[in-house]
Amino acid sequence: MPMSAPEIESLLREAFPTADITVQGDDGVHMAASIVAEEFAGKNRVAQQRMVYAALKGKMDGPSGELHALALTTKAKE
């Protein structure tokens, strides 16, 4: 069951309420998201992206992985 951009955005918004979030993609399986969040401050990319995957609560590429691919760009909000 693919995920729509708004669905992804709302999950991300829950975890990063003050972030600038843009989600693109229309097939619901190969999507892209860019997140500029203050929660990322002082964290390296791996740590930042782990926070994003945690926010997606297991929707990513698991056995029930609706979301096969999510290209991620993360940046700390200065």
Binding site: V46, Q49, R50, Y53, D61, G65
Partner: protein, 120 residues
């Protein structure tokens, strides 16, 4: 520690550079895996490729091992470096070159520079 975990630990300990990927270095079977394998091949980096499609225990085990839900996954000197997005960013920013330099991993500096020029 499960034997899958031990197997993964042993692989990353015994190889300077390891890429857990879908398919093999010469026959990648996923765009993201193909991109990272392509960068490593182009930069002449010697790496062990582990085809997670050939072993479901590894395919799931590696995600638990690194607490990272996607494939490919690159390891340098036993340390998880990142997936396709991060390796692409690090290649273009030069951080991958620095990481290899710091860990004594041989690679073709001109090839790395060419990648950056091509994606300038």
């Amino acid at each position: 520690m499960t034997d899958t975990n031990a197997q993964i630990q042993e692989t990353v300990d015994n190889n300077d550079v390891v890429l857990f990927m879908k398919g093999t270095a010469s026959m990648p079977q996923c765009g993201f895996s193909s991109r990272v394998a392509g960068v490593l091949n182009y930069m002449g980096v010697k790496f062990a490729d582990v085809n997670v499609l050939a072993d479901d225990a590894i395919r799931q085990g590696i995600k638990d091992f690194s607490d990272w839900p996607t494939i490919p996954q690159l390891y340098v000197k036993g340390e998880f470096v990142g997936g396709c997005d991060i390796i692409t960013e690090m290649t273009l920013s030069g951080e991958l070159d620095t990481l290899f330099d710091e860990n004594g991993v041989a690679y073709d500096k001109d090839a790395a520079a060419k990648i950056r020029e091509a994606n300038g």
